[in-house]
């Protein structure tokens, strides 16, 4: 089943075209890795999917249903935009945990405010998710008491608490010390299942190669190359892809 279909989306900031006619689709349970050099539009793409930015053109379908169409976007109410957002989750590069809440409260805040269950149900689910990201011991800790890697794992639990259809990660390990990236990537890898569809923007080529089912290489706002990890990494067709992969290899 197709979980996500993105059709011909475009995004400009004034005269700068940041996304130029992007189309792709994703099956339920798949992990999509998006790679590409700085400024190619990866973050913008995730922000558009999460309705933090408004697209100028194109449409977005989730589970076969159109949730966004630029042609009728101006008619969307705040309420509808918020509903649309709940199809997606976003884990930020800089975590963005709520500093005044402890780990448990960070995870329960949104489900509680959105009344997604009784207080007890929400707590139990939150505790399960916190255990899943390996932080049961630190459930009462405040973000300032956690390492970056731990904070990012809380952010993942927080996003999962809303059961998004598609969970997006924007360079989830870029703000971390190298020795902490592993624990976060492991958690993301552990989330992979037939029910969870994920999009991961990453510079971790090894991770993309081994965890993703599908890889998109973006350059200057377009999808330069798309395919299985074997195709994109093993046998890239485009010059830009080859150059990019070559460069990221050299960084090691």
């Amino acid at each position: 089943m197709t979980a996500l279909e993105v059709r011909n989306i475009q995004k400009n900031y004034g005269k700068t075209e940041v996304l130029k006619d992007i189309s792709f689709s994703l099956e339920k349970g798949q992990v999509l890795a998006i790679i590409g050099s700085s400024g190619s539009g990866k973050t913008t793409l995730l922000r558009c999917l999460n309705f933090l930015e408004t697209l100028q053109e194109g449409s977005i379908l989730v589970n076969g249903k159109t949730i966004f169409d630029a042609a009728s976007a101006s008619k969307l109410t705040d309420e509808q935009i918020r509903e649309n957002r709940l199809h997606f989750g976003l884990v930020f590069q800089s975590f963005n945990l709520f500093p005044q809440y402890n780990v448990l409260q960070n995870v329960t805040l949104a489900p509680t405010l959105l009344k997604l269950g009784t207080a007890q149900e929400i707590q139990e689910k939150a505790k399960k998710l916190i255990a899943q990201v390996g932080l049961s011991e630190r459930i009462q800790a405040y973000p300032c008491q956690l390492s970056g890697g731990q904070q990012q794992r809380v952010a993942i639990a927080r996003a999962l608490a809303l059961n998004p259809d598609i969970l997006c990660f924007d360079e989830p390990t870029s703000a971390l010390d190298p020795e902490l990236t592993g624990e976060v990537l492991k958690v993301i890898k552990g989330l992979k299942s037939k029910d969870s569809t994920m999009i991961v923007v990453t510079h971790e080529m090894e991770f993309a190669r081994h965890v993703a089912d599908k890889v998109i290489f973006m350059a200057d706002g377009i999808i330069e190359e798309m395919g299985t990890p074997e195709q994109v990494f093993g046998n890239p067709q485009k010059e830009k892809t080859k150059a990019f992969l070559q460069k990221s290899l050299e960084e090691f």
Binding site: D78, L90, L113, L114
Partner: protein, 242 residues
């Protein structure tokens, strides 16, 4: 009967200063009560998406912060009764009554209006700094979790903003305690007025300067209490970092 020794004067002076200080405190608390929420409204206005509204609000804040509170007090107190009223009567042809009234309650209302408006403008700038100082990522994290604008403000931004603004607000509020003395200019019977009365002569004491100087003790004591209170508040919010 003239009270000549210090020990005779002291209880009389304390009594009079206490009465004046009650009026000072009343003005202080009424100002806070009005200016704390009004400042928030003004700060939203100064951050509005609508350029016109933003411009108007920013101009008002500039005028209020840029001119002496003492003049604002006098304008607000005298303008309606002494300028507007005769003018209206002239064009309407019958008598109207729009002054504050000459009594202490009229003076208090006028002073409260001036202080609330003036301090709301100062607070609004502190609030604006506090709100804009909260990283945009906090708001976005709330948005992607499907929260509404008001949920994001009250459940996420507000406390972080409060933590950020406590030090500048403490400054401003301590200044307010002392600024209430400006209401003396419209003869509000606050503590400075009470202390000064003994210079001209009141209750058998005249030509005495020390009661006026002694008022400073009241300000100092009250600001001491406020300082402790703000330190406690800061410490209360010490459990998280912004």
């Amino acid at each position: 009967m003239e009270l000549t020794t210090f020990s005779q004067q002291l209880p009389v002076v304390i009594q009079a200063l206490n009465v004046g200080f009650v009026q000072t405190l009343k003005l202080f608390f009424v100002t806070l009560l009005g200016a704390l929420p009004l400042g928030l409204v003004i700060s939203f206005g100064s951050m509005s998406r609508f350029r016109g509204l933003r411009g108007v609000v920013k101009t008002i804040v500039w005028i209020v912060r840029g001119s002496p509170l003492m003049i604002q007090l006098m304008i607000i107190y005298y303008f309606p009764g002494l300028v507007l009223q005769p003018f209206l009567e002239q064009i309407l042809g019958y008598s109207v009554n729009i002054g504050w009234g000459g009594g202490e309650s009229g003076r208090f209302t006028a002073a409260a209006v001036a202080f609330i408006f003036n301090y709301a403008c100062y607070f609004s700038e502190i609030y604006r700094g506090g709100i804009q100082g909260v990283p945009i990522g906090q708001q976005e994290a709330g948005q992607v979790l499907g929260l509404s604008k008001s949920q994001i403000f009250f459940k996420i931004t507000l406390l972080q903003m409060v933590k950020r603004i406590i030090p500048p607000m403490a400054n401003e509020i301590i200044t307010l305690v002392k600024d209430t003395s400006l209401a003396r200019i419209i003869a509000l019977q606050e503590i400075i007025w009470a202390g000064q009365a003994f210079m001209k002569g009141s209750q058998g004491i005249s030509g005495q300067l020390w009661p006026l100087f002694f008022t400073a003790v009241y300000y100092l004591a009250f600001n001491g209490v406020l300082t402790v209170l703000f330190a406690w508040l800061e410490q209360k919010l010490d459990y998280f970092k912004v």
